[in-house]
């Protein structure tokens, strides 16, 4: 299932293989695997015929560098980076201080949306022997110590900005909660199509919340009640059975101990020196 492409490109399982190097000086290259993005339910953001699906994107690679190296195939509209292949959009973090997803590290996949559908073919025909260069003297990638120092520097909170963000969020949140409460009150006591009425906490008759803890408590109570009713050591047979159980317990324990010893013996636990 493999063949050498027409223009010196290599294709594996439908993926064109394109080498990529960090800089001109790098000796070894990584290989990108690219293919046209095809899914049944296409997303408007990743249009079917214009999106290039790229696998094995090296860790230091950024959106900008990808955009730059693929511009040679045509104008790039958008680049999306993901941890794993996904049809949808990456989760966009609306909040600066409370990110919903951790930043992507390590190898990733990319979706490159071109302006022109023809660019896809051009990209697929990129030669196998001429690696793309990610970091050029004009556009260096930030790596290593430089990057870490910069990250340290940027890791600071603008208190006022954060406070505003919190205030905004909380205002919205409170509003939403009120809305829900209002709705719940409105629907209180209104039967559904089949005529059932849901008991909610806002109604006049507040039902008991259905939680595991409460459930357990109720069961325990019942068990206790039942036990209190029972008579112990009352009938002769109970006494007799108790004694019998006692001996059975001893026997069982003895048997278990023997078993333990066998195990210990197997692991040579009785060789003192």
């Amino acid at each position: 299932m493999s063949a050498t492409g027409k223009y010196g490109s290599v294709v594996v399982q439908g993926f064109s293989v394109v080498p990529v190097k960090f800089s001109e000086k790098s000796k070894a290259a990584h290989y990108l695997y690219l293919k046209e993005h095809t899914v049944r339910d296409s997303d408007a953001h990743k249009p079917k015929n214009r999106t290039l699906f790229v696998l094995s994107v090296p860790p230091y690679c950024t959106e900008e560098s990808l955009r730059r190296v693929f511009t040679q195939c045509g104008k790039v509209q958008r680049v999306y980076l993901h941890r794993k292949p996904t049809a949808g959009l990456p989760v966009l973090d609306s909040s600066k201080y409370f990110p919903a997803t951790p930043p992507i590290q390590g190898f990733k996949v990319a979706y490159i949306v071109f302006k022109d559908p023809k660019s896809i073919q051009r990209a697929k025909n990129l030669p196998y022997d001429k690696p793309l260069i990610l970091s050029t003297p004009e556009h260096p990638l930030l790596i290593g110590l430089n990057k870490w120092c910069k990250e340290y520097e940027e890791n600071v909170v603008d208190v006022r900005e954060m406070q505003t963000e919190i205030d905004n969020f909380m205002a919205k949140f409170d509003q939403k909660q009120e809305e829900e409460l209002r709705k719940a009150k409105e629907n209180e006591g209104v039967p559904d199509e089949e005529g059932w009425v849901t008991v909610t906490r806002v109604g006049k008759k507040k039902g008991i919340p259905r939680t595991e803890a409460l459930d357990k408590k109720a069961k325990e109570k019942e068990r206790k009640k039942r036990k209190e009713k029972e008579l112990l050591n009352f009938y002769t047979f109970q006494n007799r059975e108790n004694k019998r159980d006692e001996i059975a317990k001893l026997r069982k324990k003895f048997e278990e101990d023997k078993q333990r010893i066998v195990l210990m013996k197997a692991s040579r636990k009785f060789r003192p020196y």
């Binding site: 110590l145 949140f173 001996i247 195990l263 013996k265 003192p272």
Partner: protein, 1117 residues
């Protein structure tokens, strides 16, 4: 009934045994009516043994150590055949004792140091009168391994002349007799090997070790003990108060006039040596008669022998031998303290209890028959001449004549510990009692070796030992030993609980080589068991100056002694050992005392003394230049204290803050708060290396050396519960952040520089940076909440909820518990930090959770049996390595009874659940009262290969360390802290100047930057904290190349990262969308394109990602 254990044993992980069948009786069998016999047995177990498990364990142990019937038969045959040979030996010619050419010319050497040489008398070899088996074989109390037969060979009366009791003549004849035996036996085809050794290390008592061949291949070791025939000597001749070695003869002087024997110094040692031979038969017969074939007694003795041997007490000169133990059991039988119907467990237990109650050093015991002979020595005679007194059946011999009082105290101490073990409900008591070895170097907190050169003899006159030197026939080491121990005991006083010399196993040599010189070792090893309460006192307070004892005190301490006025107004003699030193110097005060006293009393120079106590302290020392008012950095205890004080102040401030919710508890959770931080942090006031800075913070610069490491200290504040928290996680995060902003504001009003972060507040106080984190339990609940389909709300642990619970509940609790432990045992911190340092040095600290190490060390301190709580970091560390390497992780849970909260039922439950669920539980399973069944801290790590490697490294390190401690002179104790690098496939060497912790490295290099602390660096700007490029680099590497390789690094200043490729990396794979990262295509044989790992590119990436940090990369083929 102490114990029980659930059934269902799965086969242990990693072993290939088939799983055992469940120990479940059928219902019918369980409820069968009991037979009388069975009831009896069940009752017996309850009454006569600790528990049924203990009973079974004992019988297993016995079957393991006792001789098998087959072996016994063979040994009997051997004895019989040898006896036949011995009795038929031809008679020899008469020779002068001093003329030994007739013997030596055939190559045999007399196994005795014949010094002085001149002895009168004639030696005439006659075949033995009788040869009988004696000793433990006859009473069936032998303990494997190294079983030998003892055979008593009776020298006929005719060989003994008058006056043979004098001046070594008997000893000479005995040795010559043995040599002749050796000469004759040498020709025997069945004799495989002939050697000499000393009986119990006594250099006057050689024995011949015959390796005898039976049935063509089975070898039996037989020790031949020559004894004179009954009636050869009057026993009275060897009364311990009489003299049998004339000093003038010994010194080679002519007899001065008619010396009266009574005026000569007594020779108790020499007399006892001979008496031992004379009474051998009597005692043997008595032993046999008393034991009456009682299997309980015999098994009890066997158990006690195993117990002694595990404690290395039963061999060598001065050992508490199995013979003494047997005699003691016999004594107890005769005193009706034991009876023949007792079970082995009862015999053992009662013997040990009686041993703890008796003190043979002051009240000796005696087995002497009531109708004894006349002229026997009195008890006070014995006490005057010996340390420890246990008189035999004849009434003449003290069978403990060679035991010194310190060894006896050790035996008693061990007996006390044994009783403690038996009374503990814990299951493992059997193991600590009989199975775990208690080697000398693990038992004692400090040790020292003395090289005894014969220069020592010059000090003997002063110590009054010259006469004893004659008695011991020149063995100056053993002569001075009791005195040395006494002096040291006096000097160390309360500082030590126990002081004991290490017993030395006697040498063995071929019959054709000359015997080892006397003393056969010039090395003494003495161990100190410290009493932590007193051992580091800097001052010894003596008597008040005006008392009479003051003079004695002054004389004892010499120049060190001075008059001091104390706070209560009294003026006393006192000795000051260290004025205000660091903890590391205080810990070694005993070494100062020992060195001083030995020098003063024995004239022992420092070069002959090798004190072992603080050898590893260097590993905890952090080199640092200090300018200003800061205590010097010893092993970090002072710095930990300093940061604790600042932390306490911070807690006070935090509690005073006016927040909408009150703070329920404040607890620091960084390692320093549990005393487990290897290097205590200092205030971040280092001489500037040139940093960049913005308006509030100092910032690192890539083109400059990395700033010195200064960590942040985490503090968790648990808020009170409140119904006002939102029920939504996202909202909750924001409310919490708002809280943090508030806290920061309030702290800032207290003039503390702060930095707000979404999940915490950084506070700079007195140079330390604290990370204050508000927390409340509601968040855990929210994370756990799940709704089932039918609308039931359930609490289910999720990964996040567990992580949070660990962070804000478990860790604070554990931290405060371990802090408490440190308050009780002050060497805990040192041990745990050494352990952590060692794990890090093996580059494994990222793979072995530090809490797991902390807990293991805590276990050593909480459950030290069969030892005492470690009294020094060195011994604690050794026990940590022992625990790590010998614990059976696959089949047992390590139960850490923090605060002793476990009940008996808990222990049983943990064990049974552990065995049931073994396969689903972590490999290293740690159970604490707060976390019984989940082993929270070791859930993910260590993995099987890492644990295996850790165990291997631990046992190797232990071996090396033990060897080094045996002779510490000029040893490099950092050796076990240097990791072997040959296992790694790739080595990434790092730039020295970018390592913020380079000064913490095991080995300092020439270019290592030693940070300079300056008190006056006053800056309101936030210092650079928690910035370690190597850690960030490692994180990036692991994030990207986790499926290809493992990365190892020593957190504390390691300048190399070791990389090991995962085993499946080199296997070509089919193309799969999920597995193409860092792979390259490769044409395979079948025209099919395959993917292989792009190793060159990955290695190249290592360099790229670590730009500025990586110096070079070394790829091994």
């Amino acid at each position: 009934m102490g114990t029980d254990m659930e059934d269902d044993k799965r086969s242990p992980i990693g072993s290939d045994e088939p799983p055992l069948k469940q120990a479940r009786l059928s219902k019918g069998k369980l409820y069968m009516p009991p037979t009388n016999e069975e009831l009896n047995q069940l009752r017996e177990t309850e009454n006569l043994f600790h528990s049924s498990l203990f009973r079974l364990q004992i019988s297993e142990l016995l079957s393991e150590v006792r001789l098998k019937e087959k072996r016994k038969r063979i040994m009997n045959i051997a004895a019989k055949e040898l006896r036949q040979i011995l009795l038929k030996l031809p008679e020899g010619k008469e020779h002068d004792i001093m003329h030994q050419k007739w013997l030596t010319k055939s190559g045999f050497q007399v196994p005795l140091n014949q010094n002085p040489w001149d002895v009168k008398g004639k030696f005439h070899f006659l075949p033995p009168k009788e040869a009988t088996i004696i000793g433990s074989f006859t009473s069936d109390t032998c303990v494997k391994p190294d079983v030998h037969l003892d055979m008593m060979v009776v020298i006929p009366k005719e060989c003994i002349q008058a006056k043979d009791h004098l001046n070594h003549r008997y000893a000479r004849k005995r040795a010559l007799y043995l040599t002749v035996l050796a000469k004759h036996l040498d020709n025997q085809p069945k004799v495989e090997d002939l050697m000499f050794t000393y009986h119990h290390g006594n250099h006057l008592k050689p024995v011949l070790v015959v390796t005898f061949k039976v049935e063509d291949c089975k070898l039996v070791n037989i020790h031949l003990h020559p004894v004179p025939e009954e009636g050869s000597f009057k026993v009275n001749r060897f009364h311990i108060c009489k003299n049998n070695i004339r000093p003038h003869w010994y010194r080679g002087q002519a007899a001065v006039g008619d010396q009266v024997e009574e005026n000569q110094p007594s020779t108790p040692f020499y007399n006892s040596t001979v008496l031992e031979d004379l009474t051998m038969k009597t005692n043997q017969e008595f032993l046999m008669q008393q034991q009456e074939d009682s299997s309980g007694v015999k098994e009890g003795i066997t158990l006690l022998k195993v117990w002694l041997r595990q404690r290395e007490l039963d061999y060598g000169y001065g050992g508490f031998t199995g013979f003494i133990m047997s005699m003691y059991v016999t004594y107890l039988l005769s005193q009706r303290k034991l009876n023949v119907l007792m079970s082995s467990y009862q015999v053992m237990r009662n013997t040990l209890i009686n041993l703890t109650k008796s003190d043979w050093t002051t009240e000796g015991i005696s087995l002497q028959a009531p109708e004894g002979q006349p002229h026997i020595p009195t008890m006070s005679d014995f006490h005057d001449n010996f340390d420890v007194v246990f008189v035999d059946r004849s009434g003449f011999l003290n069978i403990c004549y060679s035991v010194n009082s310190n060894t006896f105290q050790r035996v008693r101490h061990e007996a006390e510990l044994a009783i403690e073990m038996l009374e503990r409900i814990d299951l493992d008591n059997f193991e600590s009692l009989f199975m775990k070895p208690v080697p000398f170097h693990l038992k004692f907190d400090h040790m020292f070796h003395i090289n005894c050169t014969d220069d020592l003899i010059t000090s003997f006159d002063g110590l009054g030992l010259s006469e004893q030197l004659i008695d011991s026939c020149g063995d100056y080491v053993q002569t001075c030993l009791p005195t040395i121990l006494k002096i040291l005991g006096k000097a160390l006083g309360k500082r030590v609980r126990l002081l004991q010399n290490k017993l030395i196993s006697p040498p063995k040599w071929y019959v054709t080589s000359s015997p080892p010189k006397v003393p056969f070792t010039d090395r003494l090893t003495v161990g100190l068991l410290l009493d932590p309460e007193y051992s580091s006192n800097v001052l010894d307070k003596g008597p008040s100056a005006d008392l009479a004892e003051a003079a004695e005190f002054r004389e004892f301490w010499g120049e060190k002694c001075e008059l001091r006025r104390f706070q209560d107004g009294s003026i006393c003699e006192a000795v000051l050992w260290a004025a205000g030193g660091t903890m590391s110097t205080k810990r070694l005060i005993c070494s100062k005392i020992v060195t001083y006293v030995l020098k003063k009393c024995l004239g022992l120079s420092k070069k002959n003394l090798d004190y072992i106590g603080g050898q590893l302290d260097d590993l905890l020392h952090m080199p640092i230049h200090i300018k200003g008012n800061l205590p010097p950095y010893g092993t970090g205890e002072e710095q930990t204290l300093a940061i604790m004080n600042v932390y306490d102040d911070l807690c006070k401030i935090l509690r005073r803050l006016e927040l909408p919710l009150t703070i329920n508890s404040i607890q620091g959770t960084s390692p320093v708060f549990r005393h487990t931080e290897v290097f205590s942090p200092l205030p971040a006031k280092y001489k500037h290396v040139e940093y960049a800075s913005d308006d509030v913070r100092l910032l690192p610069r890539a083109d400059k050396p990395c700033p010195v490491w200064s960590p942040i200290q985490k503090v968790v504040c648990l808020l009170e519960g409140s119904g006002h928290w939102p029920d939504d996680l996202e909202a909750l995060r924001r409310v919490k952040a708002a809280f943090h902003i508030k806290v920061a504001e309030l702290l800032n009003q207290n003039k503390l520089p702060v930095q707000v972060q979404p999940t915490s507040v950084l506070v700079l106080k007195d140079g330390y940076v604290f990370q204050v984190e508000l927390a409340h339990t509601r968040e855990i609940g929210l994370l756990k909440l799940t709704k089932t389909q039918d609308g039931m709300v359930k609490m289910r642990d999720t990964e996040q909820s567990l992580a949070l619970e660990k962070e804000i509940i478990a860790l604070p609790k554990l931290t405060s518990t371990l802090h408490g432990l440190q308050q009780q045992c002050n060497s805990f911190s040192g041990t745990v930090r050494l352990a952590n340092r060692w794990v890090a040095a093996q580059m494994l600290s990222d793979f072995v959770p530090d809490i797991a190490v902390d807990l293991m060390v805590a276990h050593i301190y909480i459950a030290p049996l069969p030892f005492k709580v470690p009294g020094s970091p060195l011994v604690g560390f050794q026990r940590f390595l022992t625990l790590l390497s010998t614990f059976d992780w696959s089949t047992s849970p390590l139960i850490i009874n923090l605060n002793y909260k476990f009940t008996k039922e808990d222990l049983t439950e943990i064990r049974s659940r552990f065995t049931k669920e073994r396969s689903t539980l972590p490999l290293m399973f740690l159970s604490t009262p707060e976390d019984k069944f989940s082993s929270l801290w070791t859930k993910r790590a260590p993995t099987a290969p890492i644990l295996q490697r850790l165990i291997l490294l631990a046992s190797e390190s232990l071996k090396v360390l033990n060897k080094q401690l045996e002779n510490s002179d000029g040893q490099d104790f950092r050796q076990i802290f240097r990791p072997p690098l040959d296992v790694y496939n790739v080595l990434i060497h790092l730039c020295q100047k970018q390592l913020p912790r380079q000064h913490q490295a095991v080995d300092l290099r020439k270019d290592t930057y030693i940070p300079c602390y300056q008190d006056d660096v006053e800056s309101n700007k936030f210092p650079i904290t928690q910035f370690d490029p190597v850690q960030i680099y490692l994180k990036e590497l692991r994030a990207s190349y986790d499926e290809f390789a493992l990365f190892f690094h020593d957190t504390f200043g390691g300048n190399v990262i070791g990389v090991i490729w995962k085993p499946n990396v080199f296997v070509p794979q089919q193309f799969k969308v999920s597995h193409v990262n860092a792979h390259k295509p490769q044409a395979s044989a079948g025209q099919e394109m395959e993917l292989v790992s792009n190793i060159e590119a990955i290695v190249e990436d290592f360099r790229i990602l670590g730009g500025g940090l990586v110096a070079s990369i070394e790829v091994k083929s």
